[in-house]
């Protein structure tokens, strides 16, 4: 009897998905806007979906699991709400203005127009695919396996993955961005309610918040477990994970700091930017980043996710999978609801990232370079076909190649954060030239690959073996990439002509100068802002975390007393969240980085050009690419055959 609730809840969820896909499609047929919702998404919709794609789905699945296994050694996870909101706070307003000026609706399109760089367009599209196939695929797989295990094999993982894939297609393939965004709101709400529900149940089961901490206290009295409540060192000079005798667990302060920079990849990436460029007006950016992202979701992370993870640390029976299994036996209606929340949380990112990847592929790569005459209706059809193919690939990879999926997922965030340098060029640093941006991203991505298992595996296939492992010195690959990226940007910008700018780029900076006049109060507060940001990074996610180990605890007799009744590092992270909330508010409103702006943005008028028939060149380009691909594939196969392991 109990097994009926899970399929019933899934059926309700499927009905809701199909209904909103239909509503989105109907609105599209009335008003157009398959690709960008007619640039009419309400700011509140953007704010909620932005938080939904950035934070909780993966944190619920992976974050709680990490805390359950490794304790509080990565407190950066607890202030993820603040860390992830920072790039949005800095970039979103200007990106919205630039996209309106150039009349583009994606990050790839924006880079294409601003820098006139096919490389940046392709790199951005590839990043979207990393999120769509890798990052989202891993989460979908975890969700699918969870459902399959809860039904004791009654629902096969293949069936579950197929159903979830079908729902994904229904959500984004039929109604486009509009239904993806509307569904995203509902999915985010489902996820939040699930988080609150599960946290409440965990606390009830454990006997309350005080009982949770009492259990943690007794756990911390053993040597091994006490280590799990602290950040061990500032840095570990090791060859990286998987090399040498030192296990080099990524639990140093620098590992935390570098993870923080990697997490910023969420809002530097094409998925978040798609939402921004499809928003009707930039009046809700500050409120979204401050109160939704950091205030609400940040609070949920620092309390609810921490409670769930730490409960799993106390007793593995409280880990997410075990908790849901127990719930399924005792209260199947709550289990059904929770599973919907987990699936929804995963689908919100998966749906949008698949849509953005396929849209970029067709509209920013295929159309401009291979088929300029492609009509809008044909583009919609091609995007739908691409979505179906990508979902099929993701489902197949979930079932047949989960390790490759994990390897792709691992580089999604570090590669995405490499786009920070061209983003800075578009928004703030006009001196970043096109060659600098291209080289920065290119070198940055290579550095990421060389410090991640995917790059190691690729090189190993060619018979090359690197002397370091994953994340040398416990520094995340994102930071290795950023160091190389910004070094290249600074050097190349210094030696190239910084005055050479496309008309589009000049027009964007003229718009900033006109629409965002310098604010004298903001100017005077600039040193304060920099100091606050740097101090926050140092204390909340950087080397200052070492102080957090003992700041809120005191020696008492033979043992240690926790001043607030909770582990010192947890209290430290709560302080970091509170400070972070104030920081984001200060940057968004007082410094005006994301404050509402009410301007009418006129479109950039390019110089008149003669329209030529480019079909011949496009065919030639396609032919050359096919030949190059064939030769490349043959050479790769030959090299791997000759030297590969």
């Amino acid at each position: 009897m109990s097994s009926i609730w899970l399929p019933l809840c899934l059926l309700i969820y499927a009905a809701i998905t199909l209904l909103w896909a239909r509503l989105g499609a109907m609105q599209n047929s009335a008003e157009g806007g398959f690709f960008s919702a007619g640039h009419a998404l309400s700011p509140w919709v953007t704010a909620i979906v932005m938080a939904g794609i950035s934070l909780p789905g993966w944190l619920l699945l992976s974050g709680t699991q990490h805390i359950a296994e490794a304790g509080l050694q990565l407190p950066t996870l607890l202030v993820a709400g603040v860390v992830i909101a920072l790039p949005g706070c800095v970039f979103f307003k200007r990106i919205w203005l630039a996209s309106m000026r150039l009349r583009v609706s994606s990050l790839a399109g924006l880079f294409g127009a601003y820098f006139s760089s096919p490389f940046l367009v392709i790199a951005t599209t590839a990043t979207a695919f990393l999120f769509a196939i890798g990052f989202a695929g891993v989460q979908l797989r975890a969700g699918g396996l969870l459902i399959a295990s809860l039904t004791d094999g009654a629902l096969d993982p293949v069936v579950v993955s197929t159903v979830i894939g079908f729902l994904l297609f229904a959500g984004v393939g039929i109604g486009g961005l509009r239904s993806a965004a509307y569904l995203g709101v509902l999915q985010t709400i489902f996820l939040i309610s699930t988080l609150v529900l599960l946290t409440g149940l965990v606390l009830i089961e454990l006997g309350g918040f005080a009982a949770l901490n009492a259990s943690l206290k007794s756990l911390s009295e053993t040597d091994e477990a006490s280590r799990l409540m602290t950040v061990q060192k500032v840095i570990q000079f090791t060859s990286g994970l998987g090399r040498g005798t030192d296990p080099a667990l990524a639990n140093s302060a620098i590992a935390n700091f570098s993870l923080a920079l990697a997490l910023m990849g969420f809002q530097c990436g094409p998925v978040a930017m798609k939402l921004v460029t499809s928003t009707a007006r930039p009046t809700g950016l500050a409120a979204g980043q401050t109160w939704v992202m950091v205030g609400t979701f940040g609070l949920l992370i620092v309390f609810a996710l921490a409670i769930m993870g730490l409960a799993g640390l106390i007793d593995p029976d409280y880990s997410l999978g075990s908790l849901l299994a127990a719930l399924h036996d005792q209260s199947p209606w709550f289990a059904g609801w929770s599973i919907i929340g987990v699936i929804a949380g995963v689908q919100v990112l998966a749906g949008l990232s698949i849509f953005v990847a396929c849209e970029s592929l067709i509209r920013d790569v295929y159309k401009p370079y291979f088929h300029a005459a492609l009509s809008k209706q044909d583009a919609v059809t091609l995007v739908r076909i691409a979505i179906a193919i990508v979902i099929l690939i993701t489902v197949i990879m979930q079932l047949l190649a989960p390790i490759t999926l994990s390897a792709l997922a691992a580089i999604a965030l570090p590669v995405s954060v490499q786009l920070a340098s061209p983003l800075l060029g578009v928004t703030w640093a006009r001196w970043i030239t096109r060659p600098a941006a291209v080289c920065g991203v290119g070198f940055g991505v290579v550095a990421v690959l060389l410090t991640e298992p995917l790059g190691h595996e690729i090189l190993s296939a060619f018979g090359l073996d690197l002397p370091w492992g994953r994340w040398p010195w416990t520094v995340h690959s994102a930071v290795w990439g950023l160091v190389v990226n910004f070094a290249a940007v600074l050097i190349i910008s210094a030696i190239t002509n910084r005055q050479a700018m496309t008309g589009e780029a000049q027009s964007v900076h003229d718009l900033y100068a006109k629409s965002l006049p310098s604010n004298p109060a903001g100017q005077s507060l600039r040193p304060v802002a920099w100091s606050l940001v740097l101090a926050w990074f140092f204390l909340a996610v950087g080397p200052g975390l070492i102080f957090g180990n003992f700041a809120f605890s005191a020696e008492a007799g033979d043992g240690v007393t926790w001043l607030f009744g909770i582990p010192s590092l947890w209290a430290w992270s709560m302080g970091g969240w509170l400070w972070g909330l104030g920081l984001i508010w200060f940057l968004s409103y007082k410094m005006g980085l994301a404050s509402p702006v009410h301007v009418s943005v006129s479109a950039f008028e390019p110089a008149p050009r003669l329209t030529l028939d480019t079909s011949q060149q496009e065919r030639e380009r396609m032919r050359r690419i096919l030949i190059a691909t064939t030769i490349g594939a043959a050479l790769i196969t030959f090299t791997i055959f000759s030297f590969g392991g």
Binding site: S42, Y182, V185, L186, I189, S193, S331
Partner: protein, 141 residues
């Protein structure tokens, strides 16, 4: 009201009921299963919270319940009453189950006239029941 506002209202209504409806239903069932009246009462409270949230959204968008929402609401109320009465007659309910069911039904039954009377006044509330609606836009006409 333009199509964007209408869709946004619908989205908010869905969001409210996705949380309060699911929570209310699941908590009610939990109360019945554990035979604990207070848990069922919390379930009823969630449903009332959903109803209040719905009214607030209506006020924000300056409209009343749509025809579809009214039909769905009354239909669900009818199903709840029929199921409860049938179960009661068939026997097997504990005291807690009976109190839980009655509480929910009374809350909803009192809630509807209360809403109508606060929105339209006592006389206007009665008028709502003999008005003929040709439009499926909203009950307020």
């Amino acid at each position: 009201m333009d199509i964007n506002s209408r869709i946004e209202r619908q989205l908010l209504v869905f969001a409210i009921w996705c949380v309060c409806g699911f929570a209310g239903f699941a908590t009610l069932l939990e109360g019945f299963a554990r035979d604990v009246f207070i848990i069922s009462l919390i379930g009823s409270a969630f449903i009332v919270a959903g109803f209040i949230g719905h009214i607030i959204i209506n006020a924000l968008f300056k409209m009343g319940f749509t025809y579809g929402e009214t039909v769905l609401g009354i239909g669900l109320f009818g199903i709840v009453v029929t199921t409860f009465v049938t179960g009661w007659i068939a026997g097997g309910y504990t005291d807690s189950d009976i109190w839980s069911g009655l509480t929910l039904i009374v809350i909803i039954a009192v809630g509807l006239p209360s809403y109508l009377s606060t929105r339209y006044g006592m006389r206007g509330a009665f008028s709502q029941f003999h008005k003929t609606h040709h439009s499926n836009e909203d009950l307020d006409g």
